[in-house]
Symmetry: C2
Subunit: 194 residues, 2 copies
DNA sequence: AGGACACTACCTACCGTTCGTTAGTTATTA
DNA sequence: TAATAACTAACGAACGGTAGGTAGTGTCCT
């Protein structure tokens, strides 16, 4: 089923190494030896280190967009509150796996200088997707003039929770997620008065 | 007053470069030429690249702890709510300046593999300081059994807001900060009723 | 059917450059 | 005089990348 082409194997290995050690911190020799071939053989598949790297990032960005949309669809029959809650959970879980969150966040925050614009271009789509998905949920639960405020707060929650994935143990992190979520949702519902 | 020793100049230049391009992405030649000396001269002041790097990180961590404590003291005569609000603002402002936030976050999230434990050891103190300062404010405004929940939410807010410093323009970011803050504080105050 | 050709995916060997680092020397300063 | 802080020169190692070669595979032309 899955074409296990060398090209894909290279991408898999490179993803892990780039995620853990960054672009400059990863050498082509390492990648090659992880795949089980010699360094120059990489050039049969990618024409430079940057080319390989951008290939990896492109795959990551496409995968993430697909995941986000798919998850939102799966949840679409729940209440808006539940949708936001599970989206937060699923998103965190997804990004915790497979080095995917690691490389995603690394590239958003600290892209290699020379590739910054290419990387940002790839992730622009991602922001769009997230905005649309979250917007479509929020319009069901808050008044229009409050929409933006709640959206910003939810995105901040998403960012904060995600960042903490790196600091804390899974248990500690789950506790913090639940507490942060409680505070968020209380803030949303207390919004009617005053 | 300020001893403008070469040693300090090296640290300043290194801070900026390490912050922007990371440990592996910054070469000693760059640092030297930024200071205006030749690469081998660096070894009159630091015995290795790692030594220099840890020196920089140490300074960053000490400075940040001092800032956090000083800011909290300056605000201590305000209402607890105001203290939290301005702490959020000041913290964001401080970290935005001088590449300080950049290197701080980079090292928390993506430390160079070989120095991970040294770096984490330095920032342990920071977490302690923050916990103490925030705790001393929170006990004045929420019931004891809710303390932990609000603390987690506030820290998540701090993390989320800080991360967004990198993505958005100052204006956009300020808007998002205010919106996220509003949601947070409403959540805190709506906490009395069931 | 069989040979010439081209293509793919790998190899070994090596290129020039840059890296972090050391040695040895000199000029300034205390 | 002794220490300090700079220098020039050079080191070995590793880097990204190239050249050239070689098996294996399929394809086209008689």
């Amino acid at each position: 089923m899955k074409k296990d082409s060398t090209q894909d194997r290279i991408k898999e290995v490179a993803l892990i190494l780039f995620a853990r050690k960054g672009f400059e911190g990863t050498s082509l020799s390492e990648i090659a030896s992880g795949v089980g071939i010699k360094k120059p053989s990489l050039y049969a598949h990618y024409k430079s280190k940057e080319d390989l790297f951008l290939g990896v990032i492109h795959k990551v960005s496409v995968d993430y967009n697909a995941f986000f949309i798919k998850t939102a669809e799966e949840l679409s029959d729940r209440s808006p509150e539940d949708q936001l809650y599970y989206l937060l959970h699923k998103n965190t879980g997804y990004l915790r796996n497979d080095e995917l969150g690691l490389i995603f966040k690394r590239m958003m925050l600290f892209p290699p200088e020379s590739l910054r614009s290419d990387i940002y271009a790839m992730f622009e789509k991602t922001e769009d997707v997230m905005r649309q998905v979250i917007q479509s949920i929020l319009v069901q639960m808050v008044r229009e003039e409050e929409w933006e405020q709640v959206f910003d707060a939810y995105l901040c929650l998403l960012d904060g929770v995600f960042e903490q994935v790196f600091y804390y143990s899974p248990e500690e992190h789950k506790k913090r997620l639940e507490n942060s979520w409680s505070a968020f949702i209380k803030g949303v519902y207390s919004r009617e008065e005053k």
